[in-house]
């Protein structure tokens, strides 16, 4: 057990001094996650809104597919994007593999169904009288939509936070698409995997603590936001 104890001591030292590039790794993780969440929100929020407010043929199928995608294993996303952007792939000429961009693409695909599905349920959960109330008060179509979004705001924020929590803690796609290159694509999760396998527990535990706090923080925020809908 000594190695764990000394690992923990080392972790505290690293967190305090910032040696071994701890915060650089955290920075890559956060950068990739934030970019992916922004992109996923840009597509997922309107998609969720559209699904919640429109009736069309095949809607049930779309909703079912969306909910199924929530369970997509991250390594499969990694595999799929890898196949597209590797040298032999159709997008190989873009030379994206093992860059932060590749990771952002993978994490966006992971986050998109989460943002869209949770946004959809956020709009479904709000009161059906909102639209009618806005209309009786003379709202335009755009004002009605804005009112609906405003009323569902906590649910929408919860959708974004949930996606962030999933993306920042994920290792499969980050490893396959980023390649765990120090100073460039090494994230908290890939670094922990590498350092553990090397037996360097200090850095692994230090990053683990930060990751744990981030994930817990996101989860607490998620449930706090959901609480507003009661």
């Amino acid at each position: 057990m000594d190695y764990l104890l000394s690992g923990f001591q080392e972790a505290v030292r690293l967190l305090l001094t910032g040696e071994s590039g701890v915060y650089g790794i955290v920075g890559v993780s956060v950068f990739v996650a934030v970019c992916a969440i922004l992109l996923a929100s840009l597509m997922g929020l309107p998609a969720g809104y559209f699904l919640a407010t429109h009736r069309f043929r095949g809607q049930r199928l779309v909703t079912t597919v969306l909910n199924t995608l929530l369970a997509m294993p991250t390594v499969v996303i990694g595999l799929f994007v890898y196949a597209l952007i590797s040298r032999r792939g159709p997008l190989g000429f873009l030379e994206l593999l093992y860059t932060p961009k590749a990771m952002i693409i993978g994490e966006t695909i992971l986050a998109l169904p989460i943002v869209a599905a949770f946004t959809l349920s956020a709009f479904r959960a709000v009161d059906s009288r909102i639209t009618e109330t806005a209309l009786t008060l003379g709202a335009t179509t755009a004002q009605t939509a804005r009112t609906l979004i405003s009323e569902a705001r906590f649910g929408i924020m919860a959708a974004v936070v949930a996606a962030f929590g999933r993306v920042i803690a994920e290792v499969g796609a980050a490893m396959m698409l980023g390649g765990n290159i120090k100073g460039s694509t090494r994230t908290m999760t890939t670094a922990i995997a590498l350092e553990s396998s090397k037996g360097e527990f200090g850095l692994a535990i230090a990053l683990g603590i930060i990751l744990l706090l981030t994930a817990f923080g996101a989860n607490i925020l998620f449930h706090w936001l959901q609480g507003f809908d009661d």
């Binding site: 008060l137 003379g138 405003s150």
Partner: protein, 338 residues
Amino acid sequence: MADPIIVVEHLAHRYASGFHLRVRHLALSPGRTYAVYGANGSGKTTLLNMLALLALPQEGRILLEGRPVHGADPARSRRYRRRVTLLMQHVYLFRSTVFENVAAGLRFRGMAKEAIEERVTGMLGKVGLAEFAHRPAHSLSGGEAQRAGLARALVTDPDVLLLDEPTASVDAAHGQQIEEILRETCRQRRMTVVLSTHQYEQAHRIADEVLIMRDGRMIEAGPENVFKGSIEDTSQGAVVRLENGVTLRTDAAARGAVHVAIAPHEIRLYRSTPSPDTANTLQGVVSAAAVDGDRIRLDVDAGLRLTVHVARDAFAGMDMTVGDTVYAAIEASSVRAS
């Protein structure tokens, strides 16, 4: 009378449930208050939703100041809704402050901030919610929420205000407050008010005209037992002198020119003179009798034309037919000023 502000023509809508709403003709005059009276499920809410363009009828049309309303066209229906607004039975308040809720309609209209501030503050004072302005709307009680909803509708200064059972889900004190606010506003503004209610008393207390709905149909008999007259104090207490010369004792607090209404089910009919304790006894002749669901509708000519509702079971024992001379007994409390 002025040209109607809203006319409904041949409105019909059939629901999958089998419910069938039919309103052949309905004209709403500016400045008048209408009560749509009927039991739950008679179609009151459906009719109001159609008047608010929240539901589009399968057949028929609605005209605003003589021009047909195109409910399916967003821009046109918005112009209509900015003049004709609806307060739902269970009001929905937005997740913001009471002030922001009441301001919503004015913000949708792009009104300047200072004007909104002034009008909303004034309106909150009117409905007795001034000190609640900056509280979260969701912290209000049911009655307060209903008043906030009423303020939100009134502050937009609509030409037509539709109210779906405005007092059904609040306690008596709040209900009275809401009625007073409505009366006050209608006096100040020539606003047309259409409210639905299942309380016969309320319908006659508030409205100039009572529209009766049953099973999705508007019963086109017109208002029953509503007479013009004036109330004055006499040695025998308050008396209303009707236009046709009949005088009736009344408990109404109003004085001067009024409309009085007598609920058809509150009139008692007797074959012989009833007890002298009764405030008003009118002798008349039964001119018509008709079965109307579980009751009998009788028309009695007694110097004024009275419509009387008698429960079917009770009628069986009364031994009364058309042409019979009867005595109509009306308590002073049943002669209401409206």
